[in-house]
């Protein structure tokens, strides 16, 4: 019993640490959905890009030599954000904006499927393009932190995961206050609430969408960069994570930034705690089951309304 209790605490601690990073990634997906009302299928693949960008920054650009082996992966993860942000901005500008934005904002769900399917195409290209560019060999970012742990009583917490957790929480808070307080944040929220009205009062809705998309994928890329030092990855890793992120965002309530963070955190806990009772391979199945249960049993809170207006 004692041993199980310690295992339980251990899994909960691991879940919390992993969940923080998931939370940050969910915030990225949540911003995109909240502002654009677009489910971004390719979101996991932007996370994958973040991982590879961080990996190459550490290795090829020699960040490791400049900042030392412990700090370099963290700096690289943070630097992956702006890189993927720019990529996201360009992708939105030249591709995604063609089927989203002010002109289709008033369209019903029908129009949204076009957008989902477009991001599915982007996802296929990123995954398989990643396979061509990066190869299929699983890699990870080496850091001494991932082999060290801090002891909190009977519980060990991995140092790399803990540092990631702290960074993720800080970033999520910064982003939250940015969206709540800043002028740009207000424009983003206006564009989210009512794109047509926002455009009448001078908000450039297309620009707001572009920024939201860039911000969303950039944030998630940082999350990806952070977990790249605690697990191996290959170009197809995005799909394992996209369901994790969908689940987190839905759990928190589509459109809510803070909710997305809590949702991601919860999913991280579920994933780690499921190993207490389920075989390791079924971790992700547990997440899917939780995900399905959430959407079946909490429909009203999340749907907002169950029937369209007549």
């Amino acid at each position: 019993m004692e041993a199980f209790f310690i295992d339980f605490l251990q899994a909960a601690a691991a879940g919390l640490m992993v969940g923080g990073t998931y939370g940050l990634m969910c915030v990225g997906l949540g911003i995109i959905f909240g502002v654009m009302r677009v489910v971004n299928f390719a979101h996991g693949d932007f996370m994958m890009l973040g991982m590879y960008v961080a990996f190459y920054l550490v290795g090829m650009l020699g960040l490791g030599k400049v900042f030392g082996p412990s700090a370099a992966p963290i700096i690289a993860a943070l630097a992956a954000g702006p890189v993927v942000f720019l990529f996201g901005i360009l992708l939105h500008r030249y591709l995604i904006a063609r089927v989203t934005g002010a002109k289709v904002a008033s369209a019903d769900a029908e129009g949204h499927y076009t957008q989902i399917i477009l991001t599915l195409g982007v996802s296929l290209i990123l995954q398989n393009g990643g396979l061509i560019l990066f190869g299929s060999l699983p890699i990870s970012i080496q850091t001494p932190l991932s082999r060290e742990s801090w002891e909190l009583g009977p519980v060990f917490v991995n140092q790399a995961r803990t540092v990631s957790f702290v960074i993720a929480v800080v970033l999520a808070l910064v982003l939250y206050f940015f969206l709540a307080r800043s002028r740009l944040g207000k424009a983003l929220r206006a564009a989210a609430d009512n794109p047509v009205a926002a455009s009448y009062v001078g908000v450039d809705v297309d620009r707001a969408h572009r920024l939201a998309f860039g911000l969303g994928v950039g944030i998630t890329a940082i999350g990806g960069g952070l977990i790249a030092s605690t697990q191996t990855f290959q170009p197809y890793i995005g799909f394992d994570f996209v369901i994790v992120m969908f689940a987190g965002v839905v759990l928190g309530g589509l459109g809510s930034i803070l909710g997305a963070f809590w949702g991601g955190l919860t999913i991280g806990m579920v994933q780690q705690m499921s190993t207490l009772i389920l075989p390791h391979q079924l971790q992700n199945t547990a997440i899917f089951v939780v995900f399905l249960l959430i959407i079946f049993f909490w429909p009203r809170g999340m749907f907002g309304r169950t029937w369209e207006r007549t």
């Binding site: 949204h112 599915l120 195409g121 290209i125 061509i132 839905v250 589509l254 971790q283 959407i295 029937w307």
Partner: protein
């Protein structure tokens, strides 16, 4: 899809409506036959086994695309999880073969059964979800199964070679046999789609796709239709999966349940054309060889080239021709034909009903009429807001009963509660002496309650006639009967003749209101709930519409009408109810209600007293 497609979505409707279905399906049958013969003729002369395999794969992926099409193409519920059924079909066949020595001839049908059962189990909970939630949860099923099959230890299962009796185990030395087999599967799937397209079931699915609440209110049991669709779809996908495993002789979780499988099913259909049986065939015929050849030529240098091809294909098609190649080509020719023979100018068909003179006798008869619809203490709250607060209402048989009240008074909510969109928290609703509580909208419609919507909910890509036929399904068990009812309803509202062939998406507001009225009438209702039928209409249009409503009423249909324009209301209604903050303030004949102090002060203004005392009509 921004431009979901389906029969009748082309901008120009063709020809007369008399029995076009039988003609059309004969043409389609011939087309399927010609396609099969040409494909098989090519397949039989090809000797390179690589090309033979490619041709087999084209057929299997076309079948898989059709399975997606049956569910998502017609009903508009986009499934990202077709791999769930494909994988179950493939794994059932494989496990039956490897573990129990069951031949694929039985294993594939067994897989179909498993697939259909999975369709039921997945459909029942998932169809409660809408929009994004439906798409996302469909995505989760195959991925969850993928991990389960990995965990069960089925990472890679090969079919044993049966050298002593290969044909009994569907193993052929001659690759061309697989082309024949796959063609048989595809033809069955195409015939199913053809049957669906021409049927009442297919039309119901299209109605669901274009406007689900309207479909439900028009008497379509949307859940049942969707369940049938997912069962058909799952069965076809499972058959394709079983055959795929049989041809490749090996299954892995990734090749059976992987995301690329679901994506390919969707991409074949979208690329070729959504909502038509030719779409997936065209898509597969172009994309499968393209991806396979590129993979063969460049696969060693560019390992993910297949996925990139599919990704690019889907992006290009969404940007250039979101409705798919088939419809793009068809629209192109339809436009040419239309340019060649321009339509004659639309002739105005005036309603052949004259205004009803004031008939005091009628009014007196009404006073003694018994109520057809009664509401007692109906209450409904949205959070803290009481949308309906103890509503008592009695609608007399044969009356035109007006419901007025300011915005947000709960008028539309009242209709939604009556026709079953929203269950009330408390209270009783009785129609012809029987409770309507707990019934779904389509059941309420079948009981004889028709309705129209404040925001017109036509099926925009159907013709006027098809719209009305959809409503007539609730009025007649046979397709011919439904067609007759629809024609009759169109006569009654003055939309018969050429206008009946117009596409609903291009109608004026007035025509749309008439269309909704006809669609509701076609179900042969005994009571009609009209939600702001005059909204957005000019005075002369209102004057055209009013005699039609009166005529319908005189033919025995009780009418409840929500209206803002008092002038029209005073002219039209026999009785009034005034609703405010979810409560009925006053009810009775117009002259009395309009004199009610509270009502006047709150909403109407003093001048209405004069109007009511000296009615213009």
């Amino acid at each position: 899809m921004s431009a979901p497609s389906g029969p009748g979505r082309a901008p120009v409707a063709s020809g007369s409506d008399r029995a076009p279905e039988t003609n059309n399906s004969r043409r389609q049958l011939i087309a399927i036959g010609v396609f099969a013969l040409v494909f098989l003729a090519v397949g039989m002369v090809v000797t390179n086994s690589y090309y033979q395999l490619m041709m087999t794969l084209v057929l299997i992926w076309a079948t898989m695309g059709l399975s997606w099409n049956v569910l998502s193409g017609y009903s508009g519920l986009v499934s990202f999880g077709q791999a769930a059924f494909f994988g179950l079909g493939g794994y059932t066949m494989t496990i039956a073969f490897v573990k129990f020595g069951i031949t694929p001839w039985l294993g594939i049908p067994l897989g179909v059964v498993v697939g259909v059962v999975a369709g039921v189990l997945i459909g029942l909970p998932t169809f409660r979800l809408r929009g994004h939630y439906f798409g996302l949860s469909m995505l989760a099923y195959p991925l969850a199964m993928l991990y389960v099959f990995e965990w069960l230890g089925y990472q890679e299962v090969s079919l044993p070679m049966k050298r002593e009796n290969p044909i009994a185990f569907a193993q052929f030395a001659d690759q061309r046999m697989y082309i024949l087999l796959a063609m048989a599967f595809l033809i069955v799937a195409m015939l199913i789609c053809l049957k669906v397209e021409g049927s009442r079931f297919g039309r119901s699915l299209l109605a669901i796709k274009q406007n689900e609440p309207a479909a439900e209110a028009a008497g379509i049991n949307t859940l049942r239709q969707k369940m049938v669709a997912i069962m058909l779809s799952a069965g076809i996908a499972a058959a394709a999966g079983g055959l795929y495993a049989n041809v490749l002789l090996v299954v892995t979780p990734q090749t059976m349940f992987g995301m690329l499988i679901s994506a390919q099913a969707l991409i074949m259909s979208l690329f070729g054309g959504v909502g038509t049986l030719w779409g997936p065939v065209i898509g597969a015929a172009i994309l499968v060889p393209l991806a396979e050849i590129l993979h063969g030529e460049l696969g060693s240098v560019l390992p993910g080239i297949q996925g990139v091809v599919y990704g690019l294909a889907i992006i290009i098609i969404i940007l250039v021709a979101p409705e798919g190649i088939y419809w793009r080509v068809r629209d192109h020719f339809a436009a040419k034909r239309a340019a060649a023979n321009p339509e004659p100018p639309e002739q105005k068909v005036a309603a052949k009903v004259e205004a009803r003179p004031a008939e005091p006798a009628d009014r007196r008869a009404l006073e003694s009429a018994k109520p057809i619809l009664t509401l007692e203490g109906v209450t409904l709250a949205f959070g803290g807001l009481k949308a309906l607060d103890g509503v008592n209402l009695s609608i007399k048989q044969g009356a035109i009963h007006g419901i007025i009240g300011p915005n947000g008074a709960g008028k539309t909510t009242l209709f939604n509660v009556i026709n079953g969109f929203i269950p009330p928290a408390t209270g009783r609703i009785e129609f012809e002496g029987k409770s309507l509580l707990g019934l779904k909208p389509h059941q309420v419609c079948w009981r004889g309650v028709g309705r129209t919507f404040q925001v017109v909910r036509a099926f925009p890509r159907m013709t006027v006639l098809e719209n009305v036929i959809t409503g007539a399904f609730a009025g007649s068990p046979t397709d011919a009967g439904a067609r007759d009812l629809a024609h009759e309803a169109l006569e009654r509202v003055g939309l018969a003749g050429r206008q009946a062939q117009a596409i609903a998406g291009g109608l004026t507001t007035k025509q749309l209101r008439l269309l909704e009225l006809a669609r509701a009438l076609a179900s042969r209702p005994r009571i009609l709930l009209l939600d702001e039928t005059f909204a957005g209409l000019a005075h002369d249009a209102i004057d055209d519409l009013m005699p039609i409503i009166r005529q319908v009423n005189r033919e025995g249909v009780t009418i409840v009408i929500i209206e803002h324009t008092m002038q029209a209301m005073v002219k039209l209604a026999d009785e009034f109810s005034v609703l405010n903050h979810g409560k009925v303030l006053a009810s009775g004949v117009p002259s009395e209600v309009v004199r009610d102090r509270a009502v006047i002060e709150a909403y109407l203004g003093k001048k209405w007293i004069d109007r009511a005392e000296n009615p213009v009509a």
